[in-house]
């Protein structure tokens, strides 16, 4: 039964998803949207598991002093500080003791980690309790800021937005910009004329690259522009469409196998 029930559910919901594609009626859409809502709900619960996984992996690194273990502290502090900032907001003109509140919470986190990794658990647990008392004391007495769990005030908290806009976004943009250099190094490897096919690839690449180069001072001869367009619109597109047709059939076949219970790899049964 433990195995049969999931297969039955997969069959029922999979078959429904196939049929709903052909049924535009509102009732069909309602069930479809209802199921998609459930995917979101499951996703939110799974996110809690994900955060727990990140926490345990990071604490494990600290406990065993694995290579670059100190960065795990940065990961955990970054994770929890954004959670705290995202749920709090300024009420008055000043932040009051807000910074002490945040620091005491981060200290609490550090002490809790030390509690789980250290042999002297009593000391760290006591310090954790002290930090918690300080944080709760400020939270209950300081009226210059508030806590919002059900609404989105915290998302406009300037500290939250500053961390996101001036720390996270530039770091992510930096990672993305590395792509330009990786494309250059990959292109160098790909375009080496080792055999006839690689030479053809090199020639085609040069023609297409020249076509899209904005710094050509003398313009491109028309026949080269036409050749470039032909390369993109005929052989390239034909190959892409062939792959897309294959992918489409593959998707239908795999979906059928999953719905009919032939393919069970996703349940750990190959």
């Amino acid at each position: 039964m433990k195995r049969q029930l999931p297969f039955l559910l997969v069959f029922l919901f999979g078959a429904f998803m196939v049929f709903q594609y052909y049924v535009p009626h509102e009732s069909s859409e309602f069930v479809y949207e209802f199921l998609l809502d459930w995917v979101m709900i499951i996703g939110i619960f799974a996110l809690a598991l994900g955060i727990w996984s990140l926490y345990t992996v990071s604490v494990d690194k600290i406990r065993h002093k694995k290579e670059n273990w100190a960065y795990s502290y940065v990961t955990l502090i970054g994770l929890f500080i954004m959670v705290v900032l995202g749920f709090t907001y300024k009420v008055g003109d000043s932040w009051g003791f807000y910074s002490v509140f945040v620091i005491s919470l981060m200290t609490l986190l550090g002490f809790l980690i030390q509690t789980s990794v250290s042999k002297d658990k009593g000391l760290w647990l006591g310090l954790s309790g002290l930090s918690l008392v300080v944080a709760l004391g400020i939270a209950f007495t300081d009226d210059s800021w508030g806590i919002a769990f059900m609404t989105s005030e915290g998302l406009s908290n300037t500290m939250f937005t500053n961390f996101a806009d001036f720390v996270l976004t530039p770091i992510l943009a930096t990672m993305f910009s590395l792509l330009a250099f990786f494309i250059a190094s990959a292109a160098y490897r790909a375009f080496r004329a080792r055999n006839i096919l690689a030479t053809l690839l090199l020639i085609a690449a040069i023609i297409v690259m020249l076509r899209f180069n904005p710094y050509m001072p003398f313009g491109l001869p028309e026949y080269m522009a036409k050749t470039s367009n032909w390369l993109m619109n005929v052989p390239n597109l034909a190959a892409q469409r062939a792959i897309v047709i294959g992918i489409g059939l593959g998707i239908v076949a795999t979906s059928l196998k999953v719905i009919l219970g032939i393919e069970r790899g996703y349940m750990g049964k190959g």
């Binding site: 996703g43 799974a46 990959a186 393919e263 996703y266």
Partner: protein, 488 residues
């Protein structure tokens, strides 16, 4: 509290009605007074003729298709028509409900803290001032009461629309440029939305031809027409036949395979290399990194990747090598944990399974890339396997893996990323090969049967494409080509 709420609703209705009294009068007057009284010197355009309308076919309802003949002054005659304005007649009940909907909208914005866009001095602003005096709990209660009120009132719309032309008004729907002869009015199905169009209620439309001077001439009123949803989308009939054909083909080959038919499947270099790569990792004493990509657990590419992960994990467990699976999606993480755990169990080494083998990293694309690249450069895995959905991060991952000296096997169905993987990886599964990998790894007849069905379906598609190309050269060939048209 309930009494307070009811008073609140009544008060808001009164306030809204007062605010809108002027507008309704103006709007309602458009039908009777017409613009000639205001601008006597302006010549009216000829009205659009033959206004017809039908329920939009193959949809969920709440939508109608209108079509009309162009005004004689559109592109000819006086050539003065600038645009067409489409109006819908709505009963007074609908107008009353709309006022409550407006209140509801303001309350929603207050609850979501998104009132910054409300312009000062408007009706919404005055509503905001009133509602902001209430606590959040009270606002939640008011919101629920208003939703119930709107839902209840909507049930009377069909009956109220029978009163045409009494006790109602014309509402502006949309405008279209001159030369337009049709309009699809797609209403909202959400009864809380101002654009809600009820099904099975009498609808009346008119189209006005408008000149640059603002002079309007109205068409004859169209109606009553009704909208409704359909239970079958006939536009998708070609897809039904294709899927049925493919399903029958798959079932046939699966049965053949079960009977013991010898089904040949061409070798896939990338999959054959998996065993060697695991052996290499064992010899080198280094881990294997398995990346499931950025897809969700609902993506077929990720589902195929789970199967391959299961096979890889089983071999890894047998060889007692370390496996690292950093994940992007928490649902994918939980499924992958189950897959790897089962694989270790199948290999007879449940004790070797570690909870952190499959772990969550982040749901931010480039933060995930940074973390995985960090793992590659710290742990120096002997083999990197990338299977699933990949986007801009594909080359950053694969190039870093190449720099770290790992053997790399990849597979994705993202067309744009395939060239990157081909360049940077040692073996690449292109498109459908990713889905075929599970069948190839298992060599199970039932799975191989589906591969055969895919091959025959591809042959059928090639055949039809060739026939289509030939027939498209002739006029009668269009009928054949149109057989495969799928509209939304």
């Amino acid at each position: 509290m309930k009494v307070k709420l009811l008073i609140m609703v009544v008060m808001m209705l009164a306030l809204s009605s007062f605010c809108f009294a002027q507008d309704n009068a103006t709007e309602a007057g458009t039908e009777d007074t017409d613009t000639t009284a205001v601008v006597e010197s302006i010549i009216l355009p000829a009205p659009p003729g033959n206004l017809t309308g039908i329920d939009k076919p193959n949809d969920h309802g709440h939508a109608a298709i209108l079509s009309w003949d162009l005004s004689p002054d559109d592109g000819a005659g006086e050539n003065s028509v600038l645009k067409y304005e489409i109006y819908k007649w709505v009963p007074q009940l609908m107008l009353d409900i709309n006022l409550v909907r407006d209140s509801l909208s303001v309350i929603q914005r207050i609850l979501r803290n998104t009132t910054s866009g409300i312009t000062e001095g408007t009706q919404a602003d005055s509503m905001k001032i009133v509602f902001e005096k209430y606590s959040r709990d009270e606002l939640f209660d008011i919101r629920n009461t208003l939703i119930a009120h709107v839902k209840q009132e909507n049930t009377g719309l069909a009956e109220a629309s029978n009163s045409y032309p009494e006790n109602g008004a014309w509402l502006f729907v949309d405008k279209k440029p001159s030369g337009t002869k049709s309009f699809v009015h797609i209403g909202s199905k959400d009864f809380k939305s101002a654009g809600f169009v009820p099904d099975f209620a009498n609808l009346y439309y008119r189209v006005d031809a408008v000149t640059i001077d603002g002079a309007k001439s109205s068409s004859k009123v169209l109606g009553p027409i009704q909208t409704s949803g359909q239970w079958y989308n006939t536009y998708r009939t070609p897809v039904v036949f294709s899927v049925l054909f493919f399903t029958l083909l798959t079932i046939y080959f699966v049965r053949e395979a079960r009977k013991g038919a010898d089904l040949y499947v061409r070798p896939l270099g990338g999959i054959e290399a998996v065993d060697d790569a695991i052996g290499r990792a064992t010899e080198m004493g280094r881990p294997i990194l398995y990346v499931l990509g950025l897809g969700s657990a609902a993506d077929i590419a990720t589902i195929a990747s789970f199967t391959i992960l299961g096979r890889v994990a089983k071999k890894v467990a047998e060889y007692q090598t370390e496996l690292l699976v950093p994940t992007y999606d928490p649902i994918v993480m939980t499924v992958a944990q189950e897959v790897v755990k089962s694989a270790y169990l199948d290999a007879g080494r449940p004790d070797a399974y570690k909870e952190d083998t499959v772990h969550f990293v982040t749901q931010s694309q480039f933060a995930y890339v940074a973390a995985v690249n960090g793992i590659m450069l710290r742990e120096l895995p002997a083999t990197n396997v990338y299977m699933g959905k990949f986007f801009a991060e594909s080359l950053i991952l694969a190039e870093t893996g190449a720099l770290a000296g790992s053997i790399q096997i990849s597979g994705t169905d993202e067309i744009a990323q395939i060239p990157f993987f081909i360049v940077a990886c040692d073996y690449t599964l292109i498109g459908e090969e990713l889905y075929a990998a599970s069948a190839y790894l298992g060599k199970e007849p039932v799975l191989l049967g589906s591969l055969k069905a895919q091959d025959y379906a591809k042959a059928a598609i090639i055949l039809l494409a060739v026939i289509g190309v030939v027939l498209a050269q002739f006029e009668f060939g269009a009928a054949f080509v149109n057989l495969f048209e799928v509209a939304n």
